[in-house]
């Protein structure tokens, strides 16, 4: 074995594309996590109203969770297509202009984050349902007596009570989001203008397209440290909050 000293680290700190890929991954997280929590909480709140066919609805929301990310990505690539995609057909159908879902560098990562939310939200609906059922009914009854409306009950009782679930969802989707790979790999190959290169996709390319194995390992280590740092910071916030 040959030691290269810190050469790989010097190269890393001069590698603009690598830092862009980390930035892209963070952009993905910043869009994906809040969107996921809002949608999951909204649907879980509705499902929690003792409605009929609850199992069937839950089953429908959960369907994308069990299906391979490869299938979901191939499917959404068609939905997002510029000329023949279903979304743009809907838009032009109601008289609006087309959107470059995957071809506009300012929009492409958002499109991927929306798709990832669609794929994973069913799991978080189920987790929130479990959390919502731990809130004692008496709290709501007392609030009713005080004349609180639905929104007040939601913000003053539900949200604080399910805080632990929200934090669990944040941590789980952070770790999941940092492994973003197959979606940009299939959909955009990282383009346009490297706007959707995720960190894992970049490491994969360095290692298995260019065969810079040592450099890819360095990138992996450095990126893992960033992941650990982000998760530790999130945990600090959680502990401070509770």
């Amino acid at each position: 074995m040959e030691y290269t000293g810190l050469n790989n680290y010097v190269r890393l700190f001069n590698d603009i594309t690598f830092f862009k890929s980390i930035g892209n991954t963070l952009i993905f997280l910043v869009i994906h996590i809040p969107l996921q929590i809002i949608v999951a909480l909204f649907l879980a709140e509705i499902l929690n109203q003792k409605i009929k066919l609850m199992g069937a609805f839950r089953g429908a929301f959960f369907l994308p969770v069990i299906v391979s990310g490869v299938v979901v990505t191939i499917l959404w690539q068609q939905l997002y297509g510029y000329d023949t995609g279903l979304l743009n057909r809907l838009l032009t159908g109601i008289g609006l202009g087309k959107i470059g879902w995957l071809t506009d560098p300012n929009i492409a990562m958002t499109s991927i984050a929306v798709m990832a939310t669609w794929k994973n939200v069913g799991l978080y609906i189920v987790l929130f349902l479990v959390g919502l059922q731990t809130v004692p009914v008496q709290y709501y009854e007392a609030a009713d007596l005080e004349g609180a409306n639905h929104w007040q009950k939601f913000f003053k009782i539900t949200l604080p009570m399910i805080n632990p679930t929200i934090f669990m969802v944040v941590i789980l989707s952070t770790i999941g989001g940092f492994s973003l790979f197959i979606e940009p790999y299939i959909m955009t190959g990282g383009g346009p203008l490297n706007s959707t290169v995720s960190a894992v996709l970049y490491i994969y390319k360095q290692g298995f397209f260019y065969y810079h194995m040592g450099y890819a390992a360095t990138l992996g280590l450095f990126f893992a440290l960033i992941i650990l740092a982000v998760v530790v910071i999130q945990k600090k916030f959680i502990e401070k909050d509770n």
Partner: protein, 272 residues
């Protein structure tokens, strides 16, 4: 107020549910529609045809990939159940020096992001000469920290008296695990079995790295390379047909065991 609620809730829920299910139905219909009608939003094509499927069969060895996926996912699931329960048993029911230390080391491996181990693990596969073999797809996944922790947790709830009684009857340790503990641990076995099989069925990054021989590829890998490579020749129907083939086995299993799928995944908070 109650009435207003149900008037508002059901349409809202139905529309939301459609957003999650409609794309899959569209994909299924598009894969059996004539190629020139695929771009339509409609779910009723003028004719049904299997030509997308027969063209796909000509282009890629999807049948072989299906067999590979079954072999790989089943081997991993069986291995995880056997080794996970053996280690879980040792860590919960046997007394020996360093037991807790081993447990903490196992937990520590879970907190390591896979991005750190990806390249070193690949290099190990190269050194072993396992590139382009089933070994590379199966062996690294045979022991899994989450399954060990779950088995350990579950076995702790089984009374020691049951194990002592079995020992008096002359059972050895392996018989205790597989004859006594297994029949009493079905919920844990179902949960671990489902999440392991699903995760290995859907795994795509690792196969992309260690398999280049098309006859050894798993389904997600083959479908991915088919979709990004030029071979689908921008024929949408063929691409969608391959995606349907990849989704079908898991969706069928899900339709029959929906409750178990949702419970299993919610209890571990895991996703693909």
């Amino acid at each position: 107020m109650k009435k207003l609620k149900s008037i508002l809730f059901y349409p809202a829920l139905t529309i939301s549910a459609l957003i999650f299910v409609y794309p899959f139905i569209w994909m299924l219909v598009a894969s059996i529609a004539p190629e020139n009608e695929i771009g339509n939003l409609t779910l009723v094509p003028s004719a049904l045809t299997l030509s997308s499927y027969s063209q796909m069969l000509d282009k890629i060895p999807i049948g072989g990939a299906f067999v590979n996926s079954i072999i790989v996912a089943s081997s991993i699931t069986i291995g995880v159940l056997i080794f996970g329960s053996m280690i879980g048993y040792a860590l919960s029911k046997l007394e020996f020096k360093g037991r807790d230390l081993i447990f903490y080391v196992i937990i520590f491996t879970m907190t390591l992001p896979f991005q750190i181990t990806l390249i070193p693990q690949y290099i190990i596969m190269v050194k072993f000469g396992w590139i382009d073999t089933y070994w590379a797809l199966i062996v690294p996944y045979l022991i899994n920290a989450l399954s060990i922790i779950m088995f350990r947790q579950y076995f702790k709830s089984i009374p020691d008296s049951l194990i002592d009684a079995a020992r008096l009857d002359g059972c050895n340790e392996l018989q205790i695990i597989f004859r006594i503990l297994w029949p009493n641990s079905m919920p844990a076995i179902i949960t671990i079995g489902i999440i392991t099989f699903m995760a290995s069925w859907n795994e795509v990054l690792w196969p992309l790295i260690v398999i280049r021989d098309e006859s050894l590829m798993t389904m997600p890998q083959l479908v991915t390379l088919f979709a990004v490579g030029g071979r689908a020749e921008s024929q949408l129907g063929v691409k969608l047909a391959s995606a349907v083939m990849l989704a079908l086995p898991i969706v069928l299993a899900y339709l029959f065991f929906q409750k178990y799928f949702i419970q299993s995944m919610a209890s571990t908070g895991i996703k693909e």
